[in-house]
């Protein structure tokens, strides 16, 4: 373990990797501050640029964007009640009230320190859990992979905020888009309609930039609201005000540790991640608090817990991606894309074949979290200025970068057209209340799922019993059935049918029927 960490630090402390880590963290913080433009769209745009970089440097930079964004989202949540990131929504509840009470500094300070502690806890967890999980993953066969990927898709569909039917349809659409191009087993052409451009399928970066980058631009163009945040801007605190005092630490330390653990384990789950972790932490702290009535009125625990959880979740999310090659959220799916651009498949063999990548990325997170803590506190005032850049100036820049980025993949202008088509799809999905996450995840998992499903059926000679006779696969299928049953029951409860049924049973029992 120590040897591995030393190897990792040797890689991550190389000057060029420190610079890339810094660039990633800085970009991530800027993105986190800007509402609307998230780490997903940014990583999607930068994916093609990383082709020219060394794999380790590319992943270090892209990872830095992801966890950096969690830090940045807090600033606008506290000062403006505008969450920079979805995972910072819950921070608005108590963080903004603290700012109104003149305690913005305490809120930002405890969020920064909490995020640092949680990020470190998460990275330690990743260092400890990833190697043994990689060994367990080596005994996974096609049946286990099929069941695990199906479980992942079910969780993403179920844990989304919108309609389950729409999420299932988007998941199926993602799987369908993943079938375009060459069949993964027999290399037969499918759904290319004679187009050479589609022969190798649709590039992940095109789909991601279209759905998340261009789709967001089109949606923001339609919304066209002038940002009036300046009117509500709270004056950013100075350095001294940002340091929590002994009392703040005393009431925040346990929420920080609880949030770290909760976020880490929720981050491992597909569909989990930073957003759900922050909400779960807030709910937990409120339930455990001796004074739950102060939540919503400036409780520092309401900032410390969720901000720790969302940072720790980032580290947790790396576990299934690095050990099994299965993304637990859209950002991890894009990182898998970055690996594949360099011809490396993340999964159980990465520890053996590319230990410098594995440990280099993990140790870079220790460095990145320290950088973010140092950056976050003194330059908050600069980040607040960034919010004042109007979208009218940002949008054309994003359009240009996405367009050149799409072109540069294959030097094919039709990729720009394809990206715009996905952008229109992303825009329409928002208008018609469909979530893009199930589509994106299913698109990445689709080819792997198809390959492992077909391999499973070849091995079992067409019998589905294999999913019940192999213990790990059976356990995973059991989890899938529980989730499906849970969704059906939840739908039943929502419509009140079960309640009225119970009332009818009670009535007939009272009557002595």
């Amino acid at each position: 373990m120590i040897d591995n960490l030393l190897l990792g630090f040797k890689v991550s402390l190389a000057l060029y990797n420190v610079i890339y880590c810094f660039i990633g963290c800085l970009l991530g913080q800027i993105i986190g501050v800007l509402p609307g433009l998230g780490p997903t769209a940014t990583i999607a745009m930068l994916l093609v640029l990383t082709y020219k970089l060394d794999l380790t440097s590319a992943i270090i930079m892209l990872s830095g964007i992801y966890y950096g964004a969690q830090y940045g989202g807090t600033i606008t949540s506290v000062l403006l009640k505008i969450p920079g990131e979805a995972s910072s929504v819950v921070t608005c509840i108590d963080g903004y009230v603290m700012a109104l009470q003149g305690r913005a500094g305490k809120a930002l300070g405890i969020a920064a320190f909490g995020s640092f502690i949680a990020g470190t806890v998460g990275t330690v967890g990743l260092s400890l859990l990833a190697p043994p999980l990689s060994k367990v993953a080596l005994i996974f066969g096609p049946a286990e992979y099929t069941a695990l990927m199906t479980l992942g898709l079910c969780l993403v569909i179920n844990l989304g905020s919108g309609s389950n039917i729409k999420a299932i349809l988007m998941g199926a659409m993602g799987l369908a888009i993943g079938t375009i191009g060459m069949d993964p087993v027999t290399a037969i052409e499918r759904f290319t309609f004679g187009s050479q451009s589609l022969f190798e399928g649709i590039n992940l970066a095109i789909v991601a930039m279209g759905l998340f980058g261009i789709g967001e631009i089109l949606y923001m163009a339609e919304s066209a609201g002038a940002r009036t945040a300046r009117d509500t801007l709270k004056t950013p605190p100075n350095l001294r005000e940002l340091l929590p005092d002994q009392y703040d630490w005393r009431i925040s330390i346990m929420p920080i540790f609880r949030g770290s653990l909760l976020g880490f384990f929720l981050g491992i789950l597909p569909g989990g991640g930073a957003v759900i972790s922050s909400f779960a932490s807030y709910a937990t702290e409120k339930r455990l608090s001796k004074n739950p009535e102060k939540f919503g009125k400036g409780a520092i625990e309401g900032v410390a817990g969720p901000e720790s959880a969302n940072n720790s979740a980032v580290s947790g999310a790396f576990i299934p991606m690095m050990t099994l090659g299965i993304p637990s959220n859209v950002v991890m799916a894009l990182l898998i894309g970055a690996f594949m651009l360099h011809g490396v498949v993340p999964g159980p063999f990465i520890l053996k074949e590319h230990p410098e990548v594995f440990w280099g990325v993990i140790t870079s997170m220790y460095i990145g979290n320290a950088m973010l803590l140092i950056m976050n506190i003194p330059i908050i005032r600069i980040f607040v200025k960034i919010i004042e850049i109007p979208y009218a100036l940002l949008s054309p820049l994003i359009v240009l970068i996405c367009s050149i980025g799409a072109f540069s993949i294959n030097n094919n202008p039709w990729d720009i057209v394809l990206m715009v088509i996905f952008g229109i799809l992303g825009y329409l999905m928002r208008k018609f209340d469909y979530e893009p996450a199930p589509l994106m995840l299913a698109y990445v998992l689709g080819p792997m799922l198809e390959k492992s499903l077909r391999q499973t059926l070849i091995v079992s000679q067409g019998s589905l019993n294999i999913f019940f006779t192999r213990p790990i696969a059976a356990a995973l299928v059991g989890c899938i059935l529980i989730i499906v049953l849970w969704s059906l029951l939840a739908a039943f409860f929502k419509k009140g049918r079960l309640i009225s049924l119970l009332n009818r049973i009670k009535y007939s029992t009272d009557k002595g029927d």
């Binding site: 369908a176 009218a392 054309p396 540069s408 057209v417 070849i458």
Partner: protein, 160 residues
């Protein structure tokens, strides 16, 4: 039968069409041989899933009573319809960019794109348009052509 949710109905019908198309395209491919499932197997299953859930969505969007209607068109709705044309214009400009960039060249087409977006769509003044446009194109050109070595199309400026 009344339409309770037109958005769900429209999207349900679109997705049903996608499901039918996928199923029809999958059927001519080989589905199953003695070796096991073939190229058409997985797309066929997905097509059936899409069709099935599209039917459910369409069913949920219909009802025995009409949905309550808003008599007043809100100010937000008026703003949204104006914004729709702006979003449409963005999409058309980007499609035109994709179709013209190889023929006319990166510099000319990017300049036209940024000029149209900043001046026409975003209603910026000339100073900002030229400053932001010029610096964006230069930095994009430098980043992609020199730093990353991407061969950007010269188009009409190939003599340069």
């Amino acid at each position: 039968m009344f339409i309770r949710n037109p958005k769900d109905l429209a999207s349900g019908l679109f997705l049903l069409a996608v499901g039918i198309l996928l199923t029809l395209q999958a059927l001519p491919l080989s589905l199953w041989t003695r070796a096991g499932p073939e190229a058409g197997f997985f797309p066929l299953i997905i097509g059936i899933i899409i069709m099935g859930f599209s039917f459910i969505l369409i069913g949920c969007s219909l009802g025995s009573a009409p949905a309550p209607r808003d008599e007043k068109i809100s100010e937000a709705q008026v703003k949204r319809s104006a914004g729709f044309y702006k979003a449409l214009s963005y999409a058309i400009l980007m499609l035109a960019y994709g179709l013209l960039v190889e023929r006319l060249g990166f510099l000319l087409v990017s300049a036209a794109l940024l000029l149209l977006i900043l001046k026409w769509l975003e209603k910026q003044n000339w100073r900002r348009t030229l400053l932001v446009g010029f610096s964006s194109i230069l930095s994009g050109y430098f980043l992609f052509k020199f730093l990353l070595g991407v061969p950007l199309p010269a188009g009409l400026l190939k003599w340069w």
